[in-house]
């Protein structure tokens, strides 16, 4: 390469001789290039890898669901908002999968494109197919409020790489949560029709929220000791945020029971909803059809 790129797209036309895979993959850069990825002594490597993989899968699958909305949003401003949020989550997914993969001896591409549904550890909330804009913003409120509280706690993680990813991601998630919260209030406090549809949306999503607060044995490896970060248990903080938003929008907190897992197992155990197969078919088919393709 010998020229500067006035636009990111110019690079697409450059010749690559080092296996770059622009058409589907991310082989063009390592998102943790040059970063010291040694796992500190005393940290359970296997548990840390599983935990980073789970948080990375949440972001990858959620990002894919948001990407499916692009070109279908009601206004251009929402279009750019959803595309940007999807991009932020994809960036978080890349770093987290790279962190997990570095420990597991696999690349982020191998983890994203060559695992089957049962090996994905994302919560089922991430794979939900939003039926309308109200479900999109209601689900995003719950997901981003939860993930932000989690990342705030992870900023003090004993793993410096995860702590850095969380500190960076928390700034982004604060924008996502505010965006979703404003729309939930706007729809809830809008017309009788928008209010009813927002309330219906919350009722549809609520059963998937319970899984977010299940105890996670792997978190012990990644989370700081409780004395360091009092917010290590985010459920109360998330509840307070969601209740504030619902109250501002005149919305009722749904009473729906959490969606049951299969024999007590759920997304973190690799047990997913039916939608997961369709998501992976779309996400992975090109890479699997041309596993060694380069552009």
């Amino acid at each position: 390469m010998s020229t500067d790129h006035d636009s990111p797209y110019d690079l697409l036309g450059d010749d690559h001789d080092d296996g770059h895979r622009w058409a589907f993959g991310t082989g063009f850069t390592d998102p943790l290039e040059g970063i010291d990825t040694a796992v500190p002594a005393g940290v359970d490597r296997a548990a840390l890898a599983r935990y980073c993989l789970a948080l990375g899968d949440d972001a990858l699958i959620y990002s894919h669901r948001l990407q499916q909305w692009v070109t279908r949003m009601p206004e251009l401003e929402e279009e750019t908002a959803i595309a940007n949020i999807a991009l932020d989550l994809l960036g978080q997914a890349r770093m987290l999968l790279a962190r997990a993969g570095g420990i597991l001896g696999r690349t982020e591409d191998q983890l994203a494109f060559f695992r089957d549904a049962g090996d994905f550890r994302n919560v089922r909330l991430a794979e939900h197919d939003d039926r309308d804009f109200a479900e999109l913003v209601g689900r995003l409120l719950i997901f981003s409020a939860w993930r932000l509280a989690l990342f705030e706690a992870l900023e003090a993680s004993p793993d410096p790489v995860l702590a850095a990813i969380a500190a960076k991601g928390a700034k982004e998630l604060a924008y996502h949560r505010d965006y979703a919260a404003r729309w939930v209030v706007r729809l809830g406090d809008g017309t009788p029709l928008s209010h009813r549809r927002m309330q219906d949306a919350l009722a549809a999503i609520w059963p998937l929220a319970g899984e977010l607060f299940q105890p996670d044995a792997d978190a012990r490896a990644a989370m700081p000791p409780a004395a360091v970060a009092p917010a290590a248990e985010p459920a109360a903080a998330v509840d307070a945020v969601i209740d504030t938003v619902l109250a501002a929008g005149g919305l009722d907190r749904p009473g729906a029971a959490p969606l049951a897992g299969a024999v007590g197992r759920a997304g973190r155990d690799g047990v997913h909803t039916e939608a997961m197969g369709d998501i992976l078919a779309e996400l992975q088919s090109l890479a699997r059809a041309h596993p060694d393709a380069t552009w």
């Binding site: 790129h5 990111p8 970063i35 890349r94 938003v245």
Partner: protein
């Protein structure tokens, strides 16, 4: 018979020379998405370390998913190679996370001159991030200078920008988000 300085001294001299020329060569690289700014203006160039073996450049992403990082690394590499440094290594640094406060004064002036409002001071927090439900603050209009503006969208054409409109002159404009 050796007539010049010992090889180790020669290497040290080269490293010293590199330190004075490698930094400006790397720092002048424009950002692909905000081409009026250099990577130094944007505050993403963390270090340029010249060693006898080559140059190590450390950069930091603005956003986790910033798609321009690969281009920025490639552009810095090609500029340094044109300046005579054959071995260039690009390293990322995640912590501390980039803040829009790191955009230099010169960078802020260049943004304003290009019609993009520079970011307001990034929020500094201790404890949980507060929820913002009301109208967010909107920067002054970079075209007419009026403070009467409103934010029309918190996400713009790139991850680092939001969209605004001036109530005074009616012009839409972009702003770099405080982060």
């Amino acid at each position: 018979m050796v007539t010049g300085p010992p090889a180790a001294d020669q290497a040290a001299d080269q490293a010293a020379a590199a330190a004075t020329t490698a930094y400006p060569a790397a720092a002048a690289t424009p950002d692909p998405e905000l081409p009026m700014l250099t990577v130094a203006d944007l505050g993403i160039l963390r270090a340029v370390d010249a060693t006898p073996e080559g140059v190590v450049v450390t950069i930091t992403p603005t956003y986790s998913g910033c798609p321009a990082m690969a281009e920025i690394g490639a552009d810095i590499r090609s500029r340094l190679q044109r300046a005579g440094y054959r071995d260039v290594e690009i390293r990322l640094q995640l912590a501390p996370a980039w803040s829009s406060d790191w955009i230099t004064g010169e960078g802020q002036r260049k943004l304003a001159a290009a019609g993009i409002a520079p970011p307001s001071a990034a929020p500094r927090r201790r404890g949980p991030v507060p929820l913002t439900l009301g109208h967010p603050p909107s920067p002054g209009c970079p075209r007419c200078g009026s403070p009467r503006t409103r934010r029309t969208a918190e996400f713009g054409a790139t991850a680092c920008k939001s969209l605004h409109r001036c109530e005074e002159c009616g012009e839409p404009f972009e702003a770099v988000k405080p982060l």
